[in-house]
Amino acid sequence: MFEYAPAPESRSVVDLKPSYGLFIDGEFVEGSGSAFKSVNPATEEVLAEVAMADAADVDRAVAAARRAYDEVWSRMPGAERAKYIFRIARLIQERARELAVLESLDNGKPIRESRDVDIPLAAAHFFYYAGWADKLGYANLGPNPRPLGVAGQVIPWNFPLLMLAWKVAPALACGNTVVLKPAETTPLTALLFAEICRQADLPPGVVNIVTGAGATGAAVVSHPGVDKVAFTGSTEVGRMIAKQVAGTSKKVTLELGGKAANLVFDDAPLEQAIEGIVDGIFFNQGHVCCAGSRLLVQESVAEEVVDRLRERMKTLRVGDPLDKNTDIGAINSAEQLARIRTLTEAGEAEGATRWSPPCELPERGFFFAPTIFTGVSQAHRIAREEIFGPVLSVLTFRTPAEAVEKANNTAYGLSAGVWTDKGSRILWLAQRMRAGVVWANTFNRFDPTSPFGGYKESGYGREGGRHGLEAYLDV
């Protein structure tokens, strides 16, 4: 491995305030709960104090959203709404570097990824949905598409700004107003987004941001003034939400966990497959609901694939997220690091073989070396439970039928990968995978034009594309 000199991105572009309030009705206001701290997971340094919204704050935010919905946003012609969303997209592009650095500081993801993936894709989502705002009648969803009202949105910490874009852009395009709760550990880019809404002169109340933890999210989801609930996060919390909204008229979409199978056949182009495997599980420290965390390799090439994978893993650089050479940044929180450790210990205890490349982890911060497990059986916890970290389980198969059987043997159904040179086999497998996204000879591709969402316990509804509009329309 080459020794690279450190190439840190400057954080001077970010103007961090010591404390942040809630964003309600176009203003930053104090929260009623006790403020909490957002830390940099790479250094454990406190970045800022953030207000905690309680039920009364959520109530105010929903009231502001309702007023903005009734009086302004739902009445505004789509062509006018489109221009506001278009402005937001441009502002995200203009402030891209600032957003990328802030995202890496707050989340721990490598700057290479926040700069090249998160922020450009977030802007692209606003551009894409801006264009839909005045064309909803052409979306082929129903003859008279109407907005739902106030959308309560709860998003996770793995792609803070991107998940915000996935939720806010289609909601606004369809004429809804939103109350969004970002994750407790990564609220800062959402608060910078609030500033962007002000720069765009978005009417007050159209976007409201309430920071806080689980209780704040529950208050948003169960608020009687919320007409639509959108959640991305764990299957466990998704289940709770589905129960909370039972018997109500709230429309719900859930993007939940995954345990994706990544299938490698003996005729696969191995160089590309190895890159795809690495991208599938080590992208964003494996904090990806559609991560390819179960590698299924055809037995005849299993040894070669694992050997090559190990060689490739030795070149992964783990460390400072703000260093442009870093491939794997920090685990988002101490809590998540503990969960990854628990599950990897279970993997060893259950008899799988653990391997990580020799790498020095920073002394401070939450880091975890990229890890693979071989000799994994389908019954092992590491093959069944979502780890949400840079941990890959390797299993083998002999026939395509066995590959399908094993790939689908999970309660989840978000994504799948297939690597083979044979086109007819790709289509055969793509048909049989019980997953919302199938990547063939690629992995972890996202685009605002493409629907994304799960089968089975990976949730319901789709985000992105024409399909993503349906979640925010009464059709």
């Binding site: 039972a246 996204v437 063939a440 690629t442 034009t449 629907p451 399909h467």
Partner: protein, 349 residues
């Protein structure tokens, strides 16, 4: 019966149907007039029903009829309830018509098992093939118009005319849904213009096994309106037909059994919704739940939705005030039981 026999070949089916309707409309008052007591048409219905059931032709007046045993429809067969239970189905006038099988929790589990087993094969059938079979169901149903109309009039207490109108609407609905089989992917799918050298397309796929709680009325149209949209996209179903709707439901099962529909694609349980629904709602091998037959806003509706959350079933909530089953259903009962799969591949040489 005589109208059916006189029917010409299929080529002139539409014309025949119109002719049949006209003949029926003319026949109904004549029958009413022939009844011993001059009474309004609606009051004459039960007599007409019992006359049809026990004495189909005047020549047979001296013989006792062979009565039909109403059983469940599971896996293409007609078993009794494993529980050995049955319940009396009465005409709207209170008169006993038949005993229907009262399905148990075990019957529901058996039905889910066979529905699961049948699902991959049904989903794999070509859209053209699934359409052909749904059209065939319509054909077989059309041929049994009289039988259904009499059954419906008996159990629902509606006029013969209204019963015929319901059968016709059900037949038309099968034809309507049949036509969707090979259009869903075109209407609900998409080719997505991604920003990169990738080919990517989204298409609808069945969600799996769907549990349907059919409304008690309209018996045949209600059951048709929940089953047809679920199976046209490749799902298999376990439908609960409550109370008196059992009789048309079992007869619809007979239609399906003779329509080349693979066994297990549609399974019909007769009995009580409140008894069977919780087991289906909490069954981890059921992917979706249609609460059509549960009162909107009821505790039962909420409890079933909570139970369904355990494996994140797709739930179609009951419509407040009950849906208008005669209205154009649109995509409202097909889309909830379809997933969208997006497949990516790089483009290059």
């Amino acid at each position: 019966m005589s109208e059916t026999k006189k029917k010409p070949a299929k080529a002139t089916k539409t014309a025949a149907k119109t002719a049949t309707k006209t003949a029926k409309a003319a026949a109904a008052p004549a029958k009413a007039a022939a009844a011993p007591v001059s009474a309004p048409v609606s009051a004459a219905v039960p007599e007409e029903v019992s006359a049809t059931v026990s004495a189909p032709t005047p020549a047979a007046a001296s013989r006792s009829s062979v009565r039909k045993t109403y059983k469940l429809y599971i896996g293409g067969a007609f078993p009794r309830s494993e529980s050995g239970r049955s319940y009396a189905v009465a005409a709207s006038t209170g008169e006993f018509i038949a005993n229907a099988a009262q399905a148990s929790r075990k019957d529901a589990r058996d039905a889910v098992r066979v529905a699961r087993a049948a699902q991959p094969g049904w989903a794999k059938a070509t859209a053209y093939n699934r359409g052909q079979i749904l059209y065939r169901i319509a054909e077989m149903l059309e041929e049994r118009r009289d039988q259904f109309a009499q059954q419906i009039a008996g159990v629902e207490g509606i006029s013969t005319e209204a019963a015929y109108a319901q059968v016709d609407a059900a037949v038309d609905r099968w034809v309507w849904y049949a036509g969707w089989s090979d259009k869903l992917a075109q209407v609900l799918g998409a080719a997505n213009p991604v920003a990169g050298p990738y080919w990517n397309v989204s298409s609808p796929e069945p969600t799996g096994v769907v549990a349907l709680l059919a409304p008690a009325t309209p018996t045949l149209l209600g059951l048709t309106s929940v089953i047809a949209p679920a199976i046209v996209g490749g799902n298999t179903v376990v439908a609960v037909a409550p109370d008196a709707s059992a009789l048309p439901a079992v007869t619809l099962g007979e239609v399906m059994a003779t329509s080349d529909l693979p066994g297990g694609v549609v399974n019909i349980l007769t009995g009580g919704t409140a008894e069977l629904a919780p087991w289906l709602a909490s069954h981890l091998d059921v992917n979706a739940l249609d609460l059509a037959g549960v009162p909107a806003g009821s505790d039962l509706a909420r409890d079933l939705e909570i139970a369904a959350a355990d494996n994140l079933k797709r739930v179609v909530r009951p419509a407040p005030g009950g849906p208008d089953w005669t209205a154009d259903p649109g995509l409202s009962r097909m889309k909830p039981f379809l997933e969208t799969k997006t497949v990516w591949h790089p483009i290059g040489i």
